[in-house]
Symmetry: C2
Subunit: 420 residues, 2 copies
DNA sequence: CTTATTTATTTCAGTTTGTAAAATAAAAAA
DNA sequence: TTTTTTATTTTACAAACTGAAATAAATAAG
């Protein structure tokens, strides 16, 4: 079973964006396919395009000429080949400073922002802490404005150079309308962030929830680039999930599906912060573990200690051999197996990426957990689902947000539809 | 909440097949769109096509002329309009006897077959009982051959007129390769039914599992025709599920997802016939209820009584006020709530169709069950998921199989890809 | 140094799949 | 009859490609 688990390196590859064309048989115009291919590979010659996309050489010439005259593509000098016979290919690349975008992740304790160029290269990033618990929309906008200002200073750029902004936050977000249906960060519900943003800034704003941001980050910069279908599961404050089908993010019909954390794994089970009982999250999320920890470790009741700290103590204790602490992790691990097996059973992805910042508790991500997961799955004739563990830096989310902005921006600049 | 539940009539509408074009922005050729539109509506004039598909009148002329000369479409005399002003539209329809298909459902106690024309009209149907438990592939093929022969006799047709055959059966079926990875109907696993079939019959064979058949039936003939996305859940021998996304059947990556019956709803819970514990099916399927019934009703241990009979007794007892019997249904109902809420939580469909032959136990399909389901779902800003209960006759499955055959046949006759 | 060979790119004459607008057809109303 | 209205057909033309021949730019061979 061990070979079914991969610990992913935090590699640094050229190019960004999905490397496969979108939806089955979907005939997106060659213009976009070419653009995405070049962006995906960093640089590419016309022949590469011809071969990779299986189009005629004539089309490659016409389309690249078109994109070059549109200013989004350019030829670059190649560092002389070593063993070439015929006419040398001339490499093309995205013109990086045609446009820039900012991606923002808003969270409970820290907000981050990343500024990238049109080719997806990071130009600058900033992080700010926040003391606020729940904010009004104007306060929220002030925080966003401040983040934008800071990252512009760090990049030594002006707001006019930013052509799109992507924002992600936990909660129920309506991607299509740009409204925040509900979020623990805000005082009120159903706030029209896009509308309010438009009164302060000229460029378009794209919103999504944080799990989708992470999934997008995997699709654009991570393990999912070469995968047509995969699922992403993340355990942080809650248990989040994202799904890519046919190289595009699947958001559910109303854009509020994939709430893995609130699927029920026990009738009348443990209490979840959503008010329900038996949610997967109530066995796995940091607050759930912290809750048990206060009992098991006979900690003094401290309402003020952040769950993160309690968990670290708990983890140290477990490592040191405290069997109560170990039980807590072990039970959580079993529930993780159940949750993952349900994902496999329903979505049948070839790969599940466990992704996020806090992929650290070995007890949760132990081989036995994945072994048990595979056992819980009907395995008649099934290829076992691969599991990849991907620990990113804390900029993942914001990078995902830049992907959101970039893909929308590409839509408007190249025309037509892109596989977000 | 009551308005969120619909009991569907078994209507009889003209036309068949999905009424909406496939995948988002998917540019399927107009030729196919036109064909599907006419088939979907039963009859349609060129103007209807022009307006509905938003194409130019010229294209309508060209394409219909093309389809007419290909022999798949024809003009029919219209029964004079009542209040028409201008030139009367001339109606077009699919030529029904260009081709015929047979759809077959193979099951534990009964096999059914339906023969339809190219427009999807039923020409004949047959059902045969079967005493066999587990068969060899040759025995299986003999049964299929016999069904085909009988339905041909009933329709007074010859095998040469059949251009495609669709077959569905419970188990793990590889739709793409036409192999039966595993089925309780067969002795051996990984049998190449398509290959074996090809040695006896000249026409192509399309295979799928029974839950997908039912979903296809809803998409082609039932409640799903006007829905872009919906889920189908069926409770029979097991708990099955199907999903339509963007007007096409979603099969999971390896074509073996959507095993709702084997998602876990209880760690170390009730024993399922799959060998695992805590599967949803172990609380809901007929064998699970029958298992409890033998305890509660203090029935003599009868290994021979079929679950259906035991269940009927149980149901009568519950109706008569036996509280043990009622508890059994009530618990099953609660688990159904949990299963459905998990479906909503993960897939977020606007509609779940509870479909199948045996939608009869009011205790399971009571309003309270759906009420509880809605309560189990995170409902912040969410439109409540509609529930429709659709009790079909026992030909549903075989009709779904004809849809499988018809859609593949259309592919080859009209060219290109269809949203199966 | 010149010529062949090889590989990359461009040019150019179709083809396919549509559209838009004018022309034609067929009916009811004036 | 003539007008009006709606349906269908015709015709010219555009967009997005393809395939094959022509051209470019390099190395290898003589």
């Amino acid at each position: 079973m061990k070979d079914a688990i991969t610990i992913m390196p935090t590699e640094d590859i050229a190019g960004c964006g999905p490397l496969l064309p979108g939806g089955r048989g979907a005939k997106i115009p060659l213009r976009q396919q070419v653009f995405q291919f070049v962006r995906g590979n960093g640089t590419a010659a016309r022949t590469d395009i011809t071969r990779a996309l299986d189009i005629s050489a004539g089309s490659a010439t016409t389309i690249t000429a078109d994109l070059i005259s549109a200013g989004v593509l350019r030829e670059i000098a190649t560092p002389g080949r070593e063993n070439g016979r015929g006419r040398p290919p001339v490499a093309l690349q995205i013109v990086p400073d045609v446009a820039h975008v900012i991606g923002i992740k808003l969270s409970y304790e820290k907000h981050t922002a990343v500024l990238t160029d049109f080719a997806g290269n990071i130009v600058a990033d900033v992080a700010i802490g926040t003391g606020l618990k729940r904010r009004s929309l104007p306060q929220f906008l002030d925080e966003i404005t401040s983040l934008i200002a800071q990252v512009l200073v760090a990049a030594n750029m002006t707001i006019g150079q930013i052509k799109a902004i992507g924002i992600g936050l936990p909660g129920i977000i309506d991607h299509a309308s740009g409204r925040i249906v509900w979020s623990a960060l805000l005082q009120d519900r159903n706030e029209d962030l896009r509308g309010a943003f438009a009164k302060r800034f000229p460029m378009p704003l794209y919103l999504d929830n944080d799990a989708n941001l992470l999934t997008l980050a995997e699709l654009w910069f991570g393990a999912g680039r070469t995968m047509r279908d995969f699922a992403v599961v993340t355990i942080e404050n809650g248990v989040g999930m994202g799904l890519v089908i046919d190289n595009r993010l699947y958001r559910g019909t109303h854009g509020m599906g994939l709430e893995l954390g609130h699927t029920k794994v026990h009738l009348d089970g443990a209490l979840c912060r959503c008010g329900q009982r038996g949610c997967l999250e109530a066995y796995l999320a940091d607050y759930a573990l912290a809750r048990e920890a206060t009992t098991a470790l006979e900690l003094p009741f401290k309402a003020l200690a952040p769950p993160g700290e309690i968990l670290n103590t708990l983890f140290q204790d477990a490592k040191a051999g405290n069997s109560a602490a170990q039980t807590i992790f072990r039970r959580a691990g079993r529930y993780l197996s159940v949750g993952l097996s349900n994902v496999v059973q329903l979505f049948d992805p070839p790969l599940i990426i466990l992704s996020g910042e806090r992929m650290q508790y070995d007890y949760l991500y132990a081989e036995e957990v994945f072994d048990e997961m595979q056992k819980l799955v009907l395995s008649e004739g099934r290829k076992p689902c691969q599991i990849a563990i991907h620990a990113w830096g804390d900029l993942v989310w914001a990078r995902g947000a830049t992907a959101l902005a970039l893909s929308a921006l590409t839509d408007t600049m190249i025309g037509g539809e892109e596989p977000v």
